[in-house]
Symmetry: C2
């Protein structure tokens, strides 16, 4: 346990629960990049993945464990002993590895999904924790669907897990059903009834199906929980997890009420949120608390009037506190290599000289087209040109003729496994025509689930970030591309998705079942 | 008061607090359309606007009051008597009009913004309520920034407002600062100390700056409040208001806990959310509770396994309950006029024969390009072709040549006040080139704050909905356009924004101050 009784552990599950939700999948490099940002942000534990679920999950947990040294790195595992072995194998090289094992404890899950008795589940839980403890003392146990579990059975299983050696016990609201008072009472009940509870940190993991994830987490902290499982931008299964930034800023802004603190460096919150939307291509809505573009915008005349007279009339925290800067224009056409290098460093990237050369070359090209270069442009360049693996498919040439009086037509030239191929296509619009040509060249025909463009900065010469999502069997794969030309960005995004699909085929996720 | 003590009034402020937030402004026709949907949804009170703020606000409140008959229609007013007169003027034709008057009660607002003593504010509040009561018995009073107000002074002002005739008293958490327990205690305190409190309905209006708006609202309901002010998709100033759908579905799903009910027809929730994103062009994030595209998506293998075995293992409410249908393919190339007419009716629109002809003509054009026509396509057609006023600017012809080896060039022909003008432009990409040509023709140069495209359905031949936001003095104006060709949609959106700007200039919002 933390020596400081008012310290709250922030357990980030963006890369596990978040990453598994539709549209948010990331590749290995993106996961490492994001994990590095979580380290800068100061999270205590990174849940890096579910190693048994796929080769890709295993590889990324392993690499994060090897590269990210400050936070603890957790790997998820069912109570199957083979899952735990696999989790340990992935996470063992971490500076401070954690095995996180879970099993459902609610009667509804026991009856319909696990088809096991309470006694069997208790036995499984105990055996799993003991098995994990043979590898490390840092073991977390989760009683899945805890909020719909019989209370006295929940006490029993929590007590058994702690007795078996779990140093953290997590109480998840798996289906997002509970309410703050009710959840607080449940946590208080555990503290009252479980004899050995002071031997473990009590954790919570709340889902947002009824909009209560953050409120439930805070309510649990008031009653003695000291770890919150959460995700940047609140992403995760269905309506997502408790949002990291909301939990942290509520504790920070209402210190007077909670008397608790975290290790989060709040000034990195905004950049963490932006990096996630940049990687996944999925923006937060403008009215998202803390990190939405409107979160600090005061539009009504009355509020503006008040703010001019005195900031605190309408502002309970400053934008600077979470790292939103008023100005982020950085560089122009005449900025030199050194300035770029220094700037990239200040943005928190650690690039090699060769990588900086690549960024600089792309920067020069972009500066010829675009007057002002923002942090977001540099980020797009880095993610497009540095953090991208050699690909099967590559775009060489694109030409499009389109308009409301012509049949949109695209000519595309690509490299496929080193061979140059070209073809033309037409369609309902220029994007459709471009994709049609790419499909002919690559001989693919995946259904397009989603297509979105966001300009990453203001101005008509801004780069467009295109995100596409293709259907692949039961799953989906996303791709993104950035370019001042929305059609080039679309082609890049579609080709990126095809390349990801190739690597997905190589490391396909197995269909993990509850039992 | 409601005769039923467990009934909760839903007071929707999407058209007032929501509409005034950046990017969410709507024109008169859009407001009427949305108000009609709120009526179908079953909200008890629609806050239609702030009549003194602008001619446009006045006109839309007046028209909503005249056309929407089932819900009460509320108009906002400061405690200035002239504001109240104006509010009444706008709202008086409603079946059941309400005047909603407000003044700040916190010392920080009194000192810095209002520069008035508590005594003066109390006097203003009393006078305003009395003045409003001369017009109607349906008067609501709000003590702005109530959560940062001295408790005994808050009791005093609430008691005075009720004594003066207010039948609803609202306790806003204006800056989104409070926490559920604290807010619940404040409401309980009012019920204990304010002698005449049973003469009014106690209302709450919570902002989401710390992610607590819904939790705070529910906590207040547990302690006796019976009206919740909320907005569809949780939009509103900064991080927004309590989200209507989350408040309603929490009460519905946890009836066992709250024992409360609303008049909301939950099966209209999803369509209300979609209509709002369709009008404003701003989608909710995929993990938005209740209405996000992922809200009912179960991606993890374990959850999918459980769902197959038994729905309730991971589902606490059905998607059908909020109107998400599994399939919404509706029409194809061969559907006739009658089928379209019937379908439009089922979607909840009341169109004239002439309007249906327009929709049918556009439908036929679209069906030539696009294989399957979805509800969303029909909605886009209706909003594009039926609910759009005769415009100053009109697109006739667009041709674009673009690609990664050409300088993107666009040729545009437009009608400006009836005169045909054409010009060509080039730019960093085809969108930039198109906008450049439009700017030359229209002699405008507004800064582009935001540009986004969303495909409204799946498939490569889907229509793209483009949203743009232009800067206009201190404010912003949004435009949208739909077309299977993303460049045509971009041109339409930009021209739509220019047209809106013209009507904004005609009805500019005055700069309303706190005092």
């Amino acid at each position: 346990m933390k020596s400081d009784k008012n310290g709250v552990f922030i357990f980030d599950t963006t890369l596990r629960d978040g990453e598994q939700s539709p549209g948010f999948s990331m590749n290995l490099d993106e996961k490492i990049r994001f994990a590095r940002q979580l380290e800068r942000l100061g999270v205590d534990i990174i849940e890096a993945g579910f190693p048994v679920a796929s080769e890709g999950d295993f590889a990324s947990v392993q690499q994060i464990a090897r590269e990210i040294r400050a936070p603890q790195i957790a790997a998820l595992a069912r109570t199957h002993l083979a899952d735990i072995d696999r989790a340990w194998e992935a996470v063992k090289d971490a500076a401070n590895p954690r095995i996180h094992t879970f099993i459902s404890s609610s009667d509804i899950h026991l009856k319909y999904q696990l088809k096991k008795t309470r006694e069997q589940v208790l036995k499984d839980a105990r055996a799993a924790v003991e098995h994990a403890c043979a590898y490390t003392k840092n073991v977390e146990f989760s009683a899945m669907d805890a909020t719909r579990t019989d209370k006295s059975y929940l006490c029993e299983i929590v007590e058994a897990a702690i007795a078996a050696g779990a140093t953290t016990v997590n109480i998840p609201d798996t289906v997002g059903y509970t309410m703050p008072d009710e959840f607080g009472e449940l946590i208080a009940h555990l503290f009252q009834k479980v004899k050995n509870i002071s031997d473990a940190v009590i954790s919570v993991h709340c889902h947002n199906d009824l909009g209560m994830a953050v409120a439930n987490s805070l309510s649990a902290l008031k009653r003695g929980a000291r770890q919150v499982e959460c995700a940047v931008n609140g992403i995760g299964e269905r309506a997502g997890n408790a949002s990291l930034e909301e939990v942290v800023m509520a504790l920070e802004t209402r210190k007077d009420l909670f008397g608790l603190h975290t290790n989060i460096k709040t000034e990195h919150i905004y950049h963490s949120s932006r990096l996630l939307t940049d990687i996944t291509g999925i923006p937060v809505q403008p009215n998202k608390a803390i990190v939405g573009v409107n979160a600090f915008a005061h539009e009504s005349g009355i509020h503006q009037d008040g703010l001019i007279k005195e900031k605190t009339t309408y502002e309970i925290m400053t934008p600077q506190l979470v790292g939103v800067s008023d100005t982020h224009i950085v560089l122009g056409k005449h900025s030199g290599r050194h300035a770029i290098k220094e700037h990239i460093k200040r943005m928190g990237y650690n690039l090699t000289d060769e990588e900086i050369d690549k960024v600089f070359a792309r920067f020069k090209e972009l500066a010829d087209i675009k007057k002002e270069i923002f942090d977001e442009d540099i980020e797009a360049i880095i993610s497009d040109d540095v953090f991208r693996k050699p690909d099967k498919y590559k775009l060489i040439y694109l030409n499009v003729v389109s308009g409301n009086a012509a049949i949109p037509t695209a000519t595309v030239q690509m490299e496929v496994d080193g061979e140059v191929i070209q073809d033309a296509g037409f369609g309902a619009g220029p994007v459709d025509a471009t994709i049609s040509a790419i499909r002919k060249i690559t001989k693919t025909s995946h259904y397009l689930l989603r297509y979105a463009v966001n300009a990453i900065t203001g101005g008509t010469d801004a780069q467009g970030i295109v995100t596409v999502q293709l259907r692949y069997n039961e799953r989906s794969v996303a791709g993104r591309g950035a370019d001042p030309d929305v059609l080039v960005a679309s082609a890049k995004a579609y080709i990126n998705a095809l390349n990801r699909l190739e690597s997905l085929k190589a490391h396909s996720r197995i269909n993990v079942k509850g039992e």
